[in-house]
Symmetry: C2
């Protein structure tokens, strides 16, 4: 393939890679599987962080920071968790380099600086955190603990894709401790709701809330809940998970508390996380063949102003109006960029801001100034219109709201059109191949059937949807009884 | 020593450790040399981050994220930098654990999962970043690059102290690329000024801006600038550094650009950073024997309201007024906590908020309600006064401003009283031991003399101060000519 514009219909995967690269979001680094998040991509991630952090704090959580490293003996304490992550751990074994005696200017690992105990670079922090909570919890008065951590984690992946699956990624991980099972379960569900609300209102991506099957659960959890989004190629993407950890970690680290009645019991736990993977979801859910389409709430630049002129005189005329508009829009708390560079032509700028998904472009030429109007182009529909400059600072926020809704509605409509109810395995396989999407089908509840279907079709059970109508039936694969339809899909 | 309150004059170091622990700021973790930053400590760090981030963005910088790991071959490319950090590197050598065949439930490093090339956990990111910039820079149009990164770094330290020196710490590192030497030097100095302004106006710590001697320079820098603060025990603390890296990294990674005239040249670089070490500075600069003293700008809770009551009836009376005051103060963008817990007595709460450095405490009893007043206690001077409730929401912000200034002035006065000019080596040693502080003395400019003085007295040259009056003299140690006085001190 040459470097020409790749359309989604040509090769969705290549389209995605090119978009991430061309829109300056991220790139591969010299470290296998690790990415560099470029400033524009990071600015989007920062907006996500700010909003999530606000939501976490509004629900009573505080931030803290725990070590990057987990001593092997702690890592292996919760056996299921350890088993689940053992195959993808980066391991620190030495703490010093020394000069290579055979190779001037080069360094080698100093064999004398071998650690007594290896350190695992955290793939997730339950072990180190529960080992810490052990010292913080004596009685019910010390509970609940509602802590979140923003951090980097490492899971050694063989096949990586920018944002979707990288060896190192950025995330937040909430780790809470509770006196009762009910309270821990309530927290698990509450944070699932926070994620769903964030995805829908902020990222404009409709999600299905559900419960994972036992096969797909987080290693060490008693129950895993998730939000699942649908990408434009018909594949599902897990956008966030919230785990009810039961007393597993409390037992592994012997974390007990004295209740009001003086009785001792193990502490109940949850953990929940979303990561830079959300960047992949955002990109794939909305973007088109011309580039990113960013919901206004998450766009680092919401409005770009491009002056159109042929002479210095025209520039002066246009420039004054542009600066005035910028000031008025910024007063409305909008993020506005005025691109008055004379090194690039308007056409080049139009393409650039389309590629970068800036929601509204305002172009102003000398004739617009004469007519007291501006040309508005919205990124989502590509519609252009001429708007009077009068009261523009109130029309633009309104238009951005409309766009946010439109982007969400479009994704919702696509998602809803791509949930296919099937009653036979042949229909299942047919729909899965074309058009794809979520396949709603009866399943007998066994891991065995789930695995067979996965082997034969590559589809996994994305979730057992919550809030779904309960309808009994028979498993499409085994013919055994089923209590409820579940959602299958191919997934990222 | 028993667990009784340790005073600064008893044992400054123990006082510091106890304060960090008792005020719930941080604690040691199960990983040697790594700390857990607890929620209250992290909340202070978040306030620092927010303000610094705002200042970086206001000076044209953007954030990005680069990998945690540095392949050994990149790490060793800039030889001085590599040499400087080689002895304190955590090294990842393997990427998988496996079940221990001899020990059920235990894991061992899988010898078959040895990396072809070892990965260094970043002690600083020049190497990985300049290897990336190489691909971003072709011409002068690609310059300057003004990027900052918020990240964790690891430097294997044998002797650690919470916040001041830990194996893993949090920091920000700015890495900029420029077309000219002048521009890079201007950036280096500009960021030094940003750090100084942050330290003085936000942390209320007066700092001395200066240049490091060659011995004390960052490994790989042509010039290192620093801000130095003075702690209450008379020791100096380096609070931030800004490095002029010359073309060293550009040459090591072959990063060249084509200038306006078409000529190719190596790119000029800077890097600059502050870390969670600033937490140590903040704690040691202002706190007293009763606990933290936080400047109002950095305090997570600026005002705490404690109700005083003996009956339900009294509580109702006091509660209404307290809630009203809270609302009025929050409208002024103050961070207010209303501690109406009935599980703790007022006296306990008073001690707790003194320990945690909450700037203003408002106590309200039934008689205060009758008299339409409240009792105010300010943390810095311990003064109490009765204030009319009328217009309280405007008096409190004013008082907080006064306190911010008072805390700074106190630290400034202490610092200025503890800069001692000496003209002989015996006077130098005398002053260094008692009372300590900065010793301003003539030095012959050689690393040899510097090292000798360090060996004999443990004092290092903290910096060659900028903006100082230039006064010729003779070196206190060698008697050779000296162009300017420099500042010596014992340091953290």
């Amino acid at each position: 393939m040459d470097n020409k514009k790749i359309k989604r219909s040509d090769d969705y995967s290549l389209w995605y890679n090119n978009l991430v690269k061309n829109a300056d979001l991220a790139e591969h680094s010299a470290v296998k599987g690790c990415m560099v998040i470029k400033p524009y991509g990071y600015a989007i991630w920062e907006k996500m962080q700010q909003e999530l952090d606000r939501m976490f704090k509004a629900t009573g959580h505080v931030n803290a920071y725990f070590p990057l490293f987990v001593p092997k003996s702690l890592f292996e304490a919760e056996e299921k968790n350890a088993e689940g992550f053992a195959k993808e751990c980066a391991i620190v074994t030495h703490y010093r380099l020394k000069t290579d005696p055979d190779n001037k200017g080069k360094l080698i690992v100093d064999p004398e600086a071998k650690l007594e105990e290896e350190l695992i670079v955290r793939p997730t922090s339950e072990a180190i955190i529960w080992n810490t909570y052990k010292n913080w919890i004596q009685s019910y008065r010390d509970l609940p603990i509602l802590i979140n951590q923003w951090a980097n984690v490492v899971r050694w992946e063989m096949r990586t894709r920018l944002f979707l699956r990288t060896a190192e990624f950025l995330w937040q991980e909430g780790h809470t401790a509770h006196a009762t099972k009910e309270e821990a379960m309530e927290e698990t569900r509450k944070m699932l709701d926070v994620y769903a609300e964030f995805a829908e209102t902020f990222l404009a991506i409709p999600v299905i809330k559900g419960r994972k099957t036992e096969n797909e659960r987080f290693a060490g959890a008693d129950d895993t809940f998730c939000i699942e989004g649908l990408m434009q190629d018909g594949k599902a993407l897990q956008m966030g998970t919230s785990h009810f950890l039961g007393q597993n970690f409390a037992k592994a680290f012997d974390v007990q508390f004295a209740g009001k009645d003086g009785k001792r019991d193990f502490v109940w736990a949850t953990s929940w996380g979303v990561s830079t993977r959300l960047m992949g979801a955002l990109i794939m859910a909305h973007s088109d063949d011309d580039g990113l389409v960013l919901p206004p709430t998450i766009a680092p630049v919401q409005v770009v102003i491009v002056p159109i002129y042929r002479s210095d005189e025209e520039f002066t005329k246009v420039n004054n109006v542009a600066l005035d508009i910028k000031k008025r829009l910024e007063k409305q708390n909008l993020s506005v960029k005025y691109d008055n560079r004379d090194t690039h032509k308007p056409g080049w700028k139009f393409n650039e801001y389309e590629l970068k998904g800036v929601p509204i472009r305002i172009a102003i030429g000398p004739r617009d100034v004469d007519n007291q109007c501006v040309e508005i182009a919205r990124r989502d529909t590509k519609e252009k219109q001429s708007l009077s400059n009068v009261d523009l600072e109130h029309k633009i926020p309104h238009l951005l709201e409309q766009m946010q809704k439109n982007i969400y509605d479009k994704a919702l409509s696509f998602r809803d059109q791509n949930i296919h109810s099937v009653n036979t395995y042949s229909e299942f396989k047919e729909k899965l191949e074309h058009p794809g999407g979520f396949i709603s089908a009866h399943w007998d509840g066994t891991g065995e059937t789930e695995n067979r279907i996965k082997e034969e079709t590559k589809a996994t059970i994305r979730c057992i949807p919550l809030n779904a109508s309960i309808e009994k039936g028979t498993c499409i694969y085994s013919g055994k009884p089923s209590a409820q339809r579940v959602l299958f899909a191919k997934a990222y």
